[in-house]
Every structure is written in structure tokens, then in C-alpha cells.
């Protein structure tokens, strides 16, 4: 396409993701790329790949942070904070992605037509809106999405609960019996804090239920008689 060939490499590869799309500014090549990207998280294979890469990424983050902390504590802490924030934003983007409506479905919902049948301006509007919704987290958390989130959180809790207990027991063992005679009292303080935090985390769901569950109903009078 003539319009497509006139544009710079930067625009063709990167630029168009970040600037408002005007009528006729995107060629078929870019649209194909946009649609391919928007479908990335839809396949289980890709999602599982992300999940598998998550653990080494976390381990790498911890290793890098510890290495920098040993060189310069201040820089190490700041670096760890930034890396954690970056990973948090990534998780947020992934979570939003689950509830995002595809470009094709947006086309049908907004214009009642297939994406390919839309005018360039309409495609651009849909694309820009999808990008904005993704950035600001404006997605509809419907009942399916809410249930999936609850199930995932429940599974995470079941997994992390025992892991936390094992971690605290290990922490106590290291603090009590490790070769740190000089700093044992300081370490004991951190062990108490870690234990308190773990107890708080593990007890919170039960406490929330204790607070929110209504009175148990009794048998109705008509039947009881």
C-alpha cells in the first residue's frame, strides 16, 4: 500500500501504538499486527508460557535486588521498589486483559458490523478506545470474570497458606539455631513480625466472614409447630 510504504520504520513498527489513529493512517500490515497482538492473551498456551516465565522472573528480580543492595543499599532498595512496581503493573495488565473485549467483538457491539467491514475512522476509534480501556483498567468485571478471580484467589490462598506456615517455621528455626549469636535478638524481632504478619494474612478471610455473614435462619414457625 502506498500510504504504508511512505511512513518511517519507527511509525510502522512502534509509533502507531501510541498516537491517535486518524482516518487512513494505518495500513493493512499494521491492522494485522494490532489484531494479532490483541489476541495474544486469548490462547491458553501463551498464558501458560507467561505463568511459567513468572517464577524465574521473580527469582531474577530478587537476585538482582539482593546483588545491588550489597553494592549500594539505597540504590538496591530503590531498584527493588521499581522492579516490584513494574511487575505489579504487568500483573495488573494481565488481569485487565482477561476482561477486555476483543476488537472484533467491540466492532459488533458498537457498530453492529464485522471489524473488516468498518471504515478506517471507526477501526481507529475502536483501537484507541481499547488501548485507553486497557491503560485505565476500564473493563466490565461480569459474573464470569468475578467468579474466575475468586477461584484464582482461593486457589492461591490454599497454595500460599501452607507455604507461609512452612516459611515461618523455617524462619524461626534459622533465627533460633542459626550461627548468628551476635544478632539473634534482632533476628528474633523480625521473626515475631513475620509470624504476626503471617497470622494476619491467614486469619483475615475467616475474620471477614465472621463479620459479614448474617444470622443463621431458624426453622419457620409454621413448620416448627
Amino acid at each position: 500500500m502506498a500510504v504504508n510504504e511512505e511512513r518511517s520504520w519507527f511509525w510502522r513498527k512502534i509509533g502507531f501504538w501510541f498516537v491517535p489513529v486518524r482516518a487512513g493512517t494505518l495500513g493493512p500490515e499494521e491492522w494485522a499486527k494490532v489484531r494479532k497482538m490483541s489476541r495474544t492473551g486469548k490462547s491458553r498456551r501463551t498464558r501458560r508460557l507467561f505463568a511459567l516465565l513468572w517464577v524465574p522472573a521473580l527469582a531474577l528480580e530478587i537476585a538482582v535486588s539482593l546483588w545491588v543492595v550489597r553494592l549500594d543499599p539505597w540504590a538496591g532498595l530503590m531498584g527493588a521498589a521499581w522492579l516490584t512496581m513494574l511487575m505489579g503493573l504487568t500483573v495488573r495488565a494481565l488481569r485487565i486483559g482477561f476482561a477486555q473485549v476483543s476488537l472484533e467483538d467491540r466492532a459488533v457491539m458498537q457498530y453492529g458490523a464485522e471489524f473488516d467491514a468498518l471504515q478506517e475512522k471507526q477501526r481507529g476509534d475502536i483501537f484507541q478506545q481499547a488501548v485507553r480501556d486497557g491503560l485505565f483498567g476500564r473493563v466490565r468485571v461480569d459474573e464470569h470474570e468475578a467468579e474466575q478471580r475468586l477461584r484464582a484467589q482461593g486457589a492461591a490462598y490454599r497454595l500460599l497458606g501452607p507455604a507461609l506456615v512452612v516459611f515461618v517455621a523455617g524462619y524461626w528455626a534459622v533465627c533460633l539455631f542459626g550461627p548468628f549469636a551476635a544478632t539473634r535478638s534482632a533476628l528474633a524481632v523480625t521473626a515475631v513480625v513475620v509470624t504476626w504478619l503471617s497470622a494476619l494474612v491467614l486469619a483475615t478471610p475467616t475474620m471477614i466472614r465472621m463479620w459479614t455473614q448474617p444470622d443463621e435462619p431458624e426453622e419457620t414457625a409454621v413448620v416448627a409447630e
Binding site: D105, R106, V108, M109, D142, E143, H144
Partner: protein
Amino acid sequence: MSLHNRIAVLRAEKKLSRAMLASSVGVNPQTIGFLERGDYTPSLELAFKIAEHFGLPVEAVFSPRPFRTLSEQVYELHKREV
């Protein structure tokens, strides 16, 4: 317990896209896809909304047992008439 449904058949019959159905019952289009594939059991509220959308009783759209195929049902009706 998995719940069987006829949403895909009803959608095809009415030439209704999943996005349009999703809009009218207030869920995401992908939720309709999961429902049709049997990956998700809807809440009672959503089941009633979907049945209402197609103008059918809820048991005509959802069932705890697998639905018989339309061809089987048509053939049985035909046999009864004969």
C-alpha cells in the same frame, strides 16, 4: 454439576452474534463463548436473562441433562403424528 445449554443453537437460529447477546444480557462476549462451550455455569440471574432474551422458558435453554438433538426431536414428533 455441569449445566447444558442451547445458546449456540438459538444464536444461530436468530443469526445473533455473541457480542450482541452479551450486550443485551450484560456480560462480556467471551462469557457467552465460555457458556456455549460448557466451561462456565451461569448464575440463576444470567440464565433467566438469557432465556428471557430468546423468549423461552429457562428449562428450554438450560438443562442438567444433555439436550437431545433437534433432528431426534423432529423425528419423534413425526413418528407420533404418523
